[in-house]
Subunit: 461 residues, 2 copies
């Protein structure tokens, strides 16, 4: 059985083929009909021509509505129509499943993305969501290929965790206690010793700390798995459940980290342009006309690299009116990041060495005692796409930072052990996978780049 | 920087190299010392020779204890020692992190796997767990390569789900309600409308139903993600959190499903033998002497295919005393499966068409009205490794089965819609990823083939 993407790319006249898929459109003429069939492998449909001398033509053609599943055997012929090299001269049509045009929610017309979210079980059959899911798969595959080719191990860090030191307040609780029973029993307090794990457990917000464990045994590792935030953010950029990629590299400093991240982004964007050219052209035409420019900008430019302190100086010199005033110590806002990447450098910028007060406890303290070896990558049209750091590998400095940041160090005994026994300089970064797909495709709402989005009040399908 | 696996496989005398890793052992002689260094890329260590004329030799050699992290520059020379082609003549040694032999828990001696689980942050530095994690990564990579090369999309089905129709009683609840606050407020019942998703939510037990959604748009898809069971099973084969692989194929029947599963298993086992020969030889020598035989058995034999009814007949004819008596209708027990695969066929066996009473509601009802189009793959020395089925694509039959099985069909409105609008024959299977790694490596306890196992009373690290 042939896939339509291969037929459209490489099909030759006179080939006998069989395709299976779903009808997108039908045009009935007197002596024959055109139908367009899609099998999810490509944006483009394959056009089939059904002559009226086909067996059961009258019955079949009546039933061939949008959404109907079919198998068609026939011969490829050169197509007189524009935009396709070949079409399929049908010799046998089998209908697997009918589709009632009166009730099928996906009629051939424009639907809003909001509406499509309510039919998440069917929206993959639309041009846009179809293209998104193919690009998403290509991104994911590129990520594995990149790291595997460099000898990184894919490590599965735990989803359920007993540690709450990283995401206070935004954690989902995981339990198998019966809440109903607790209330019926009129208990005064929850006894987590009776819970499945014998203690309070949560959904992970990051696999980084466990990835550090693995890097201290295997040198180069990466996570690629789901992470969670119980954050009540109803925005176009937030999901409660999303996939993260987090490489962790032993014997690596902040410069090596930047080099890896730059090479990584270039690889993934190039891979998707190479493997999904039709889908990417579609996004550029229909969704966001900067999609290809933004991708080329990442692929073709050496990223600028500046320190946070230099960034602050540049912003102050810019004489631009920012909503959030610029001074050393502030967290960079979206408007600042956009100015740097889009107006000043006009290419991706890596900003490094942020004030320690605005960054996490595990980032390596610089010699100035004021900044840490952090990096954020900002890209034109996209904003912050990667955040990373060199990790604090010195036991005494890490212990001081834990106290400074009011973190419960007892829970981190194993994290400290890594600095006690054969500690090494190491670094890593994090990439929100859905953010990447959103930027790559130009989709406005992050809920439309994951098959089944989880957001406040929504866990449908 | 060179990785040790490449040096051991391809290193040539006279090459100048730099390696970084952790000391495994040290042997001090009068004029020089041997140290063995490991960087996690291979089972084998690289032996380095440190002559006493090295800068700071006396200080360095004292500190080079097991677990110390180092960088060594030097020249490869032919090794007189057995089992290694080259060794490293050190010219410069840098110590990154010391490791106190008085407190380091991983001294050079045999440790029980039970003990190693208590130091999950260090156990990757042992021969066995190191080999397991490399084989695990190779398995994972093989799975992606197999499906991607066939045009399957990797789809990320949701981890958090509101549906409880598949795993009644074994579900973890996910909530961001404060249990403490509910008790303090002395509420009479839980109002899930105030919970994050506005309803009760759980951790998924399978991505299959959502994978079916995606297959109805994209034809060929697979999931590869974490799944959960809140099952209080303290056995060597159960985890509360484990990764599953679930392909789903449109326009496919049970025979196509069997073909794909057989090809898949052969591919993955062969890939691991090709890519991790040293690790697999180690397992065969130290862990389970049937590991290689079992793998070859899968790779080199055409799988036998019999129906459940034939299997029952063969078991009855065997005259063997089984603990669980054999009659048509029973679920096959491990002893039955082992007899079929190990004694009778001596190769992998696919058993198909099980009684509907012992299988899930979504499996396709056969024309006999008594059996369903299910399959289980049984392998010698391994047992059941894959379970799959053709899915019920006929709306009316599926609806009857839902009623028969006492399932709440209202929740499955979208699943039924797939049969309403362009339904197609389709099939798929499921593979427990940790079970696969366990079988591949011969490891006795499944807790030792996942980086951070989650089991009753255990969510450490």
């Amino acid at each position: 059985m042939a896939r339509i993407i291969n037929i459209l790319r490489n099909g030759k006249a006179q080939e006998e083929i069989e395709v299976k898929g779903w009808i997108r459109t039908k045009r009935e003429l007197k002596e024959f009909s055109f139908i367009e069939i899609n099998d999810g492998s490509s944006l483009g449909n394959l056009q089939a021509v059904l002559n009226s001398d086909l067996l059961n033509y009258q019955d079949i053609i009546k039933r061939l509505n949008t959404g109907v599943s079919v198998s068609i055997k026939g011969i490829l012929v050169d197509s007189p129509a524009k935009g396709q090299k070949v079409e399929l001269q049908a010799q046998e049509v089998i209908i697997f499943g009918d589709c009632d045009p009166e009730t099928y929610p996906l009629q051939k017309k424009r639907h809003s993305f909001e509406f499509l979210r309510t039919i998440g079980h069917l929206r993959g059959r639309t041009n846009t969501i179809g293209a998104v899911m193919r690009v998403r798969n290509a991104c994911a595959n590129a990520i594995h290929q990149f790291f595997q080719s460099k000898g990184f191990l894919w490590v599965h860090t735990p989803i359920i965790t007993a540690s709450d030191c990283e995401g206070a307040g935004e954690l989902f609780t995981v339990t198998n206690l019966s809440l109903e029973k607790i209330i019926q029993d009129k208990k005064d307090e929850i006894n987590y010793e009776n819970d499945f794990f014998g203690r309070q457990a949560y959904l992970t917000v990051s696999g980084q700390l466990e990835a550090e464990i693995m890097a201290m045994s295997f040198q180069n590792v990466y996570t690629f798995g789901p992470t969670f935030r119980a954050e009540n953010s109803n925005t176009s950029r937030h999901l409660a459940e999303f996939w993260m990629v987090e490489p962790e590299i032993a014997f690596c400093d902040l410069e090596g980290d930047q080099n890896l991240a730059e090479e990584f982004l270039k690889y993934v964007f190039k891979y998707v342009l190479d493997h999904c050219p039709e889908d990417m052209a579609f996004f550029n035409q229909r969704i966001n006309q900067n999609v290809l420019i933004n991708a080329e900008n990442i692929i073709n430019n050496e990223f600028a690299r500046i320190t946070y302190t230099e960034a602050i100086n540049l912003l102050e010199k810019s004489k631009k009116k920012f909503e959030f005033p610029v001074e050393w110590g502030i967290d960079l806002q979206s408007e600042h990041e956009r100015y740097l990447a889009e107006e000043l450098f006009k290419k991706p910028v890596i900003v490094t060495d942020y004030p320690k007060e605005i960054k996490a406890f595990y980032m390596r303290l610089n010699d100035d005692q004021k900044t840490v070896a952090a990096m954020d990558i900002l890209a034109p049209g996209i904003g912050e796409i990667i955040g990373g750091s060199q990790r604090e590998e010195r036991l005494d400095v890490l212990q001081s930072r834990i106290v400074e940041c009011n973190i419960n160090g007892d829970e981190l005994w194993w994290y400290l052990d890594l600095r006690r026994y054969g500690t090494v300089p190491h670094a890593g970064f994090g990439l929100g996978f859905e953010r990447l797909v959103q930027f790559m495709t130009g989709m406005e709402n992050i809920r439309d780049v994951i098959p089944f989005p989880r957001t406040p009040m929504n866990a449908e399908f």
